[in-house]
Symmetry: D2
Subunit: 337 residues, 4 copies
Amino acid sequence: MIKVGILGATGYAGQEAIRILLRHKDVKITELARFSDTDEPISAVFPEFKGRIDLVCKKIDPEAIAKNVDFVFLGLPHKAAMDIVPVFMKAGKSAIDISADYRLAPDVYKMWYGAEHKDKANLSKAVYGLPELYYSDIKKAKLIANPGCYPTSVILGIAPALKAKAIDPKNIIADSKSGTSGAGRKPDSALSFCEVNENLKAYKVNEHQHSPEINKILSAVSGGAINIVFTPHLIPMNRGILSTIYLRLNKKLDTKAVLDIYKDFYKGKPFVRISDEGKFPQIKDVVCTNYCDIGLKVTGETLIVISCIDNLTKGAAGQAIQNMNIMAGFDETEGLL
Amino acid sequence: MIKVGILGATGYAGQEAIRILLRHKDVKITELARFSDTDEPISAVFPEFKGRIDLVCKKIDPEAIAKNVDFVFLGLPHKAAMDIVPVFMKAGKSAIDISADYRLAPDVYKMWYGAEHKDKANLSKAVYGLPELYYSDIKKAKLIANPGCYPTSVILGIAPALKAKAIDPKNIIADSKSGTSGAGRKPDSALSFCEVNENLKAYKVNEHQHSPEINKILSAVSGGAINIVFTPHLIPMNRGILSTIYLRLNKKLDTKAVLDIYKDFYKGKPFVRISDEGKFPQIKDVVCTNYCDIGLKVTGETLIVISCIDNLTKGAAGQAIQNMNIMAGFDETEGLL
Amino acid sequence: MIKVGILGATGYAGQEAIRILLRHKDVKITELARFSDTDEPISAVFPEFKGRIDLVCKKIDPEAIAKNVDFVFLGLPHKAAMDIVPVFMKAGKSAIDISADYRLAPDVYKMWYGAEHKDKANLSKAVYGLPELYYSDIKKAKLIANPGCYPTSVILGIAPALKAKAIDPKNIIADSKSGTSGAGRKPDSALSFCEVNENLKAYKVNEHQHSPEINKILSAVSGGAINIVFTPHLIPMNRGILSTIYLRLNKKLDTKAVLDIYKDFYKGKPFVRISDEGKFPQIKDVVCTNYCDIGLKVTGETLIVISCIDNLTKGAAGQAIQNMNIMAGFDETEGLL
Amino acid sequence: MIKVGILGATGYAGQEAIRILLRHKDVKITELARFSDTDEPISAVFPEFKGRIDLVCKKIDPEAIAKNVDFVFLGLPHKAAMDIVPVFMKAGKSAIDISADYRLAPDVYKMWYGAEHKDKANLSKAVYGLPELYYSDIKKAKLIANPGCYPTSVILGIAPALKAKAIDPKNIIADSKSGTSGAGRKPDSALSFCEVNENLKAYKVNEHQHSPEINKILSAVSGGAINIVFTPHLIPMNRGILSTIYLRLNKKLDTKAVLDIYKDFYKGKPFVRISDEGKFPQIKDVVCTNYCDIGLKVTGETLIVISCIDNLTKGAAGQAIQNMNIMAGFDETEGLL
């Protein structure tokens, strides 16, 4: 039984982490905290937890929390984690940062997030927490940079074909559609029901801050510089990301042959499911699960890949707990099925 | 051709007023304004208007606007209109206030809106703009207190039975369900898509600020003090109010007899439609229209009335323009069909 | 470890039962069946189950199924269960019928469902599976009539006040709002997305088939004949029922006093949560849970009670499994938290 | 004043045509018909029309209808129009077919719709009713093949760049997202609210029947064979199509230069609006309008074009009425603003 704290417990990722950890047999939640001077029972913020957990969500005090946890999840706004993570590293605790703070090299981070990185020492040791690609590194890590939601769906959809050198690395397009919880829990009239419902729009067209993250990891997979075209869209639904990915085959392969590449790549990975030929995944089959469902089709020289996740589970809190399971030596799927 | 200004042009009621007035043959919109120091073309705020109207939405300057309009619509937050209306009254212009500022007696207003009324002189002359009840007063008015959205649906659903003395005035329940645009256009995390979608809740249970307005008008209809039980609910849809009203008959009447009372009451009223026996109205038949659809059923001593409107049209901007049509001597339905 | 079968596994209640039972530590699903001549893996019908359960959903063959289960859940259309239940009773197995077939006396059943009851022998032994009212009967039962979704929310909202003789039993109004899954999984253009979305309507106004079920149980609670006014509404959301209930107090009680009656009534019941004074429940806090959340307010002589459940969980499959837990001697909450 | 009939008046396109024609000053609707033996007032099918139009929707009798109309709109299932159109052509009337029956060459039609074409004579005279491309042909036509919804959004988004020979015609990808009304008004459990809401999926991946239509028209624009990659997606909203189109520039052009090409191409076209640099269109600005809003961005060699329409207006009934306006010599925008 390990002791776990959640910083940023009142955001959507924090809420999802609580939900999952409440059914995790090897974990006890011991600390909940947020940026606020008001202490409040978590069930006052999220009445769904009434009768299930009676912890008070406190103001973030890293030193105090570090004494009472083995693992900490940070579901904080970007730029906040890098002030806090050092405390936990110094105290010898394990940390999983759900923000972008430990995902990018300092210069790229500065370009996209507009701030100098303040914790380069730990940044250099952080492991990118995509278990389907970096399992053994995660097993040994103390600090995880948990992947972004779009990157999770896009990278998992492209990596097998790229690794197999089956596609042109210069010609990658990802058209992603996300539910609204991806934007976080905050007052913003652009996210109000009447603006999102019965609407649909592209945003940050090829200039989303997840682009450098996708490019960094795909470049590592490919061994050469990758620079994809990436268009995110906002969809009137709460949860889920579906990425439709357009790739150019550089050898003659049919759908079945590519499916074999993907099935082989993800063999033994409990959270990736490959659809049979002629079938494609849909959001509702992955919502509230940690699965990434992938379907694909070859048409001429084009390989169309469709990759689906729940942005709050596999795209955030679920993957974070999958990482914790690996780091702590638990069953990788504990709490997640 | 009259000249019309809209104050609060960037709210949902203002937007709806622009939409309707753009197809009104006797009106030219000459002024758009809001509380903001930034001048901006209205099509920059609402791109739907691109190519249709090229007015700039300016900071509210009542004196300047009064010189360039015959009629003014005020779609401002409560407590703002009473500072501005006097300017238009003094200039001899007609004003239709969509807020609550001219609907209640000063003491009641203070109790529910928490402010002293600053324009009692004009308040005493304002006419409650529910044309189905106050047509001839509206015709002569210079200042209209445009009804609230809930009151419109509830009062129209109850008035005929109450006027006919067919029901117990002490035993009136209105269970109202509203789309989210009723809450206005503003940043508020409680109104964000993820909070409203796949959710449903009652709020301000029997303490909504529309209660005194409903009670005031129904008391006037009845000739005695009315104090209804009123529960509003927030529904995951953009537009529309459906009120399910429970009344106690004080004489033996069947559904057909009550339908006759309602049909008779609304004879010649172009925007009220009474459903045939066995049929009930639904939101989608009134959305984006100025209709109030009403259906009813007698069961034992209980009369169930269902009353539907679009909260932004009959519940706000549409009714305001219906009032303008009556005041200006236009066809009552101009721009509204 | 008991063996469980689900008949009607491809309906929404069947799907929900599978979801819950997959995380139930004392159960193994051994049989899935439906009315269809096509055998199909359940994961072909519901791809969400891919990799989680590989059973084939077969044509219903009660005799064969009875040999391979200890418990059976019947999530079939009304009028189908009464042909099948006798087989399981004869084989000494336990059955939980989620349809209406074992809820009503034969004459009432015939009036509302239009068919003669074919299994009066077992009907007389069936126990109404509302654990908060009939725990000890359920414990001894072999056949459960699992409550309807509306009745669950309405009865739980009224029973404490009625039992305490605090309200007028002749003056009960329930205004219920349901998500669309309550209508079942079937082709019906009235249930299509475009008809339900951005719409809201009342239906079967005071003539819903759940009325006699509510009246029967409330009459038993009260000791006299109850005949409530009941208006169901269809809401554009997938899951959840919120019932707003209007009762007339027959003694002077304030909100706090009534809250005490409710808290006392549900003391020790793990799935009913009473909101604090001034708070009211909302759908999203009970969705995908087996909770019934209840809030209330006294205003004058009126008691307003708001009762929320998930129609597929506490209103169908979750409650069915709660019943199974009680019957089998498991922890009442196993699989349900 | 011309007399107009609508066949298929009870489908979504028929309903939309009625809505628009009711505010068209030069048109009188004289006939409404559908495939059904039951005559019914149209307001019984669509209560929104109560008090606005009292025509009875009759069984389709082309000869009888032809005597009482100048123009006919056919909003019928594919394969039905080709039996009926000849009657109207023979009678010298004008017809606008909203189905696919007159859009494709007979062999292509057979391949995609599975039927021999039965009216090749009129097929050869039919004009493709996309006014932004074929205005002068439409002006002289008696029979219009009204474009499909996806083709309208995709072709308008690509034609200017293709015509200007600015892009590689071999490398065109259209990723389209459609509201659910595009699937028509019919009982289908895959279209039910609970299946579509909180879900998102691709379907008919690169094998949608609109592909040959898009390819045919783009080939004509380009002067060479075009074969695009096309992925449609189903979105949980009622109305609207947003197509995100990925093109490869074959010359060095920046965003501004491409915007100039588009603005020039659509100069004087009342229903195409080009977004300013840095802005992109969204569904809610075109819903219930006949506009096609287009925004674009150059990134490296890729040109991303985003094109938005309302599938029932510009994608069906609105465009049909735009065609009628042109054919009849009315103002092109009459009834459509």
